[in-house]
Amino acid sequence: MCMFKNSILASFVVLCLASCNPVGETIAEIPLSVGEISGSNVLDLKKGDVVTIWSKITQRSDNDEIPFNVKYNIESMGKSIAFDSLKATNGEHIINAEKSTESYTQSSSEGDSTKYYTLKKFEVENKKITIPEDGKYNFDFKVVDGDYGFANRDMLIILRKTR
């Protein structure tokens, strides 16, 4: 009985520690626009820090979902330590999801009508990067295809740090 109790207590302690700040501390928010490189400020990171790349995405139900790729480059001391690409909408871990119904007025010869659509905003985890050495790092991103970024579609990359 005592053993059972202790193991429950132990698992609670483990859960407690693991659940502290599960997505990490936000260290940069980087707005993206098509065809442009957008970068973080210089980030001071320690060996073993894990930087997770999240994409904040806005989708409208009346538009086809446009897949888009983001190329990224991580640089330290003028040297590229990772250059790869990610599909911004790909990922299992989704947080901060919001859904709202929006409307706009459409005018035609038959008169005005109100159109409704659903606006979904969410953040999706794309990649985890483990920092190899203590140092100053730059993260750069570039949307390489898709036509994202027009008409108030705010697309953000969020960098979060855990250890």
Partner: protein, 405 residues
Amino acid sequence: MKIINNLNFKITFLTVKKSQFILLILCCLFAFACKRVVKEEEETTIDSSDDKEAVSTAEMQKIMALKLPLKTVLIDKTFNLTIPESATFEAVKVEPQEESKIGEIGNIDLKKLAEPYVYVTLNNTFTHHDELYNEFIVIFKENDSTRLTIKDIKDSFGQIDFVYFEDNNSLVFEQGDSFFTVHFDYDAVHKSYIFYKAEMSWSKKYPTKQRADLFLHLLKQAKNLTNSHVVGTRFTSWEDYVQNSPALEIEIAKGMFKKLEKELKIFLTVDEKVSPRTPGNYTFVSLYLAPKDKELDFYKFVDAVKTNQLGQLSDYSFRNGVYNVSSGNVYTVKQQEGCYLIDFSSKRYNGEVYKSGVTVICPITYKNKSYFMQTADEIPAEDTDFFVKMFSFFSKNYTLDTKSN
């Protein structure tokens, strides 16, 4: 016995309570420790600190001593004005009764002038699309050379937040986060005032120090308007531009090139052309990673223009390559410091010749790949030197950073 039983019960009760209490605490910890998202806005703050300092005459003299290539132009067939070598101008005659945008200069109401005045706008890379600032000159007749005073001009602006520099005929100041340079001279021969004004809107969020420095450079230009002893001087290199130009203009160029540097070294793929946007959301310079055939097409075009055999090329409508060539246009190509300066003209249906400016193209070889850097817009021939020096430096160093900064 009853007492003992009671005690046992109390002990059991306390034991249960204690373990439940620990569990409760742990649950609370678990629940509160689970912060879903930590949002910490990391806003880049613009230096709007109050480190404003009036500029001494000695400091102004230091700026006045910096190199500035100048040229003298004739305005309205009457006035010789000395303006920067890189500037172009447009002059129009305005009837006083038409006047709407300037209103008064000091205590002089332009609407009440007896004769038309000349309104001159100056243009360069940084005034294009009102990217950074705008500047104009008004030349108007006035027999009294003492009529205009800095005090009257100052009063006409109302509340001024900070004066950086002032003398008998100049004023550099800040008002509502907008920057202004005002200067006037009196042309005794033509009994006319030459009034200069430059303005940068409050919406341009740049460090105060850099904005003040820019407006002192503009005052230098204004003070040279009536300079009749122009010494032929030129910028010899990009380093020369960096040392003698307003820091803000250089910073804007470097900001754009930081992106181009990353495109060149990392991001750009074959046959991709990029043109990063300026802070004012305009294009400035583009970079293209050319496939072999497009590279050869470009040199074929250049050689054909040089040997005057463009018409003999069977297919010289090169589209979506380094430079768009259209049959029917007339091209000239000049080579300067590793760059190509391409000028074209075309004849309209009414026979009128159309020219829209020069395109500066500079080939860059990086890791055995062929890139072409070019001006995103066609630019006036007067303004090409800045781009030639900048491109030429970048093509050798893959950065705009110089050793001096």
